[in-house]
C-alpha cells in the first residue's frame, strides 16, 4: 500500500470572472519509508498539494489517500504529521502546552502526551523554551516547534512544507538529520523545498511541479544525468608549458597565486591532465568531477516549460529563456546557488 497516493487530484479557485487552476490532475504515489522531495517554483501548487493531503483544503476533483484512507476521513491523519510553511499556534499557549494538546488529540493520555512533549522539546532543541508562549518565539523556534508538533503522534508519514525555511546552516543540517532519523524508523517523508541542495542530499525520489502539473517524477539517480560531464582539477606548481598544453586541449585555466584551477569540459581528459601534471612534478590538490546537479536539471525543466511572456523586450534573450530565468530566480537565493554547486562538488569528490 502506498503511503501517499493521489489520482487526478485537482484544485480550482473560482473568481468572479476567472478560474485559477492551482493543481491539475496530479497522479502521484509515494512508497512507505521513502523520502520524497516535492519541488517547484513559487506558485506551482506545492503548498496546495500538501494542504489537500491534510484535509485543510478540499479538492475540486480527484482523490488522495494516506495509507489507503481518503484524506477527507479524519482517521487518515492518525498516522500523519504535518508541518506548515509558517507554523503558528494560539499565542497564549506555551510550547509544552501546545505539544501536550497535540499529543492528546493524537490519542495519547494526558501523562503520555506530556512525556512526549518533553521528549520532542529536547529533540528539537527547545527545552529552554518549554514554558515560553507562542508569541515570544522567534521564527526559527517556531519552525522547530512546527516540526515537533508534526512528530508528536509518531507519524507513519511526515508531510513538511518548506521545513528548512528560516533556518541557519546548522539548523538545516539538524533538520536533515532528523528527517534521515525518521526515515530510518520507517517513516515516509514528503516535503516541499526550494533548497535543492538539501533535496539532492537526502531524497530518494523527487517530483517537479510546474504551474500545477507534475512534469517530472522519479528517482534522483535516474532523472539526473549521471555521466561525468567534466571536472575541476586544482593543482599547485604547474609549469607554464604544461598549462599551455592543457589549454590547447580545450580546457580552461585560472591561476590563484601558486594554485591553478583547471576546468575540463570533457571527462575523458581527466586522465591525460593528471598524467601531465604528475610527470611535471605538480601537486594535485583536488579532482572534482562535474555531474548534472538537481539544480541544473530543475532549471532546465523550468526553461523548457515556461511560455514566452507577452511584451518582454530589451535583454536580447528569448522570452522563453528570460521567463524561465525569472521564474528560476525566484526559487534560489544566490548563496543557495553557490552552496548547491559547492555541495554538489563535495559530494562528487567523495
Amino acid at each position: 500500500m502506498d503511503a501517499i497516493r493521489t489520482e487526478n487530484l485537482s484544485k480550482r479557485y473560482q473568481g468572479l470572472r476567472t478560474v485559477a487552476h492551482a493543481l491539475s490532475g496530479l497522479d502521484l504515489e509515494v512508497s512507505p519509508g521513502e523520502i520524497f522531495g516535492y519541488l517547484g517554483p513559487n506558485g506551482a501548487g506545492k503548498t496546495t498539494t500538501l494542504k489537500l493531503l491534510m484535509g485543510l483544503t478540499l479538492p475540486s476533483s480527484g482523490g488522495a489517500w494516506l495509507f489507503g484512507r481518503p484524506v477527507g476521513d479524519p482517521r487518515a491523519r492518525q498516522g500523519a504529521g504535518f508541518m506548515p510553511e509558517h507554523p503558528s499556534a494560539p499565542g497564549h499557549l506555551t510550547c509544552e502546552e501546545l505539544l501536550t494538546l497535540c499529543g492528546r488529540l493524537s490519542g495519547l493520555s494526558r501523562s503520555g502526551a506530556t512525556r512526549r512533549a518533553k521528549h520532542l522539546l529536547e529533540r528539537t532543541g527547545l527545552e529552554e523554551a518549554a514554558r515560553k508562549r507562542m508569541h515570544c518565539l522567534s521564527k526559527g523556534m517556531l519552525q522547530w516547534l512546527g516540526l515537533a508538533q508534526a512528530l508528536v503522534g509518531e507519524p507513519q508519514v511526515l508531510i513538511l512544507d518548506e521545513p528548512m525555511s528560516g533556518l541557519d546552516p546548522v539548523g538545516r543540517r539538524r533538520m536533515r538529520d532528523i528527517i534521515l532519523e525518521e526515515r530510518a524508523r520507517g517513516t515516509t517523508v514528503f516535503f516541499s523545498s526550494h533548497i535543492l541542495a538539501d533535496v539532492e542530499m537526502i531524497c530518494d525520489r523527487v517530483g517537479i511541479l510546474l504551474r500545477g502539473t507534475l512534469v517530472q517524477c522519479g528517482q534522483l539517480s535516474r532523472i539526473l544525468n549521471r555521466r561525468r560531464e567534466g571536472a575541476e582539477i586544482r593543482v599547485t606548481n604547474l609549469p607554464p608549458d604544461v598549462a599551455e598544453r592543457i589549454v590547447r586541449m580545450g580546457a580552461g585555466i585560472r591561476r590563484f597565486g601558486e594554485e591553478t584551477l583547471i576546468e575540463l569540459q570533457d571527462g575523458d581528459g581527466i586522465d591525460r591532465v593528471l598524467q601531465w601534471t604528475a610527470d611535471a612534478g605538480a601537486r594535485v590538490q583536488a579532482v572534482v568531477p562535474h555531474r548534472e546537479s538537481l539544480e541544473e536539471f530543475f532549471l532546465e525543466q523550468v526553461r523548457c516549460r515556461t511560455p514566452e511572456p507577452a511584451g518582454f523586450e530589451g535583454s536580447g534573450e528569448t522570452g522563453e529563456t528570460s521567463g524561465a530565468r525569472a521564474m528560476a530566480a525566484t526559487v534560489l537565493e544566490p548563496r543557495e546557488r553557490t552552496e548547491s554547486r559547492e555541495s554538489s562538488a563535495r559530494r562528487s569528490s567523495r
Binding site: K51, L56, L101, C102, L105, S106, G107, E154
Partner: protein, 267 residues
Amino acid sequence: MNGRSLKIKKGRVGRVGAIAECTFLESVRDRTLSVPVLLAGLMIGGALFTRTLSLGQQAKLLQDFGLAGICFFSDVLVILAVTATLARGVDRGTVFPILTRPVPRGELILGKYGGVLAVVVLNIVAVLAGLHVALFLIGAGGSSGILWAAALSVVEVAVVGSLAVLFSVTCSPVVAMVFAGLMMFIGHATADVRELAARIGEPWAQTIGELFYYTLPNLEIFDVRAAAVHGYPIDSGYLIWAFLYGILYAAVVLWVAIWIFGRRDLA
C-alpha cells in the same frame, strides 16, 4: 521513545475536552477579555455610591445594574472570545495544529465553544459573587430570583456564543464580531419587530415579521431581571421552557456552523 509504541486512547469527548481546556487557558490569559468583566464590576461598584440618588431603593438598583451588567458584558465577552479564538484562529492558521490531527472539524467547533463558555460562566460567577458582596455591604441579601436571572443569562450567552461561532466560520474576524453584535441587539427586539410588522397590516410584512421572529433568536425571553429585582415569583414552567429554547436554538446554530465549516477551504 522508539517504534510505534504509543498507546492510543480513543475518544471524542477526550478530544473535545482537550480543545476546550486549551481554549479556556487561552481566553483566561488574553487580557483584553478581562475588560468586559472589569466594566461589569465597575457598574456594580458605581451602584454602591448611588445611595442619595436611589431614593431608598439602593438594593433594587444594585441588583438591576448588576444583572444588566452580567447580561450585557457576558454577551460582549462571548463574542470577543469566540471571534478571537475561532475566526482569528482560522484566519491566521493557529487552528492548523488541531485540524491536522485526527480531529473532525466539528470537534474543533465544540471544543472552542465549550472552552469559551466555561470562561464566560466563570466570569458570570465572579461578577455574581461581587454583586452579592456589594448587596451584603449595603445590608441587603440575594435571592433565588437573582440566581435564576443569572442562570438565564448563561443560556443567553450560549445562544449569542453559538451565533458568534456561526459568523466566525463564515466571515472574517471583524465582520463576525460586528454581525454577532448586531444579533445581540436584534435579539432583544424580535418581539417588537413582529408587533410592528403586524401593525403594518400587509400580508408580506406579517410574513417577514413572523420569519424574523422565528429564525432570529428571541433573547428577551431570557430576561427575568424585573421579576428578580422586584421579588416576583418566576414560573418554573417558564424557566424550563426558556432553558430548552436556548439550548435547542444554540444546538441548531452550532450544527449549521459545523456543517458549513466542514465544507470550507481553510487555507
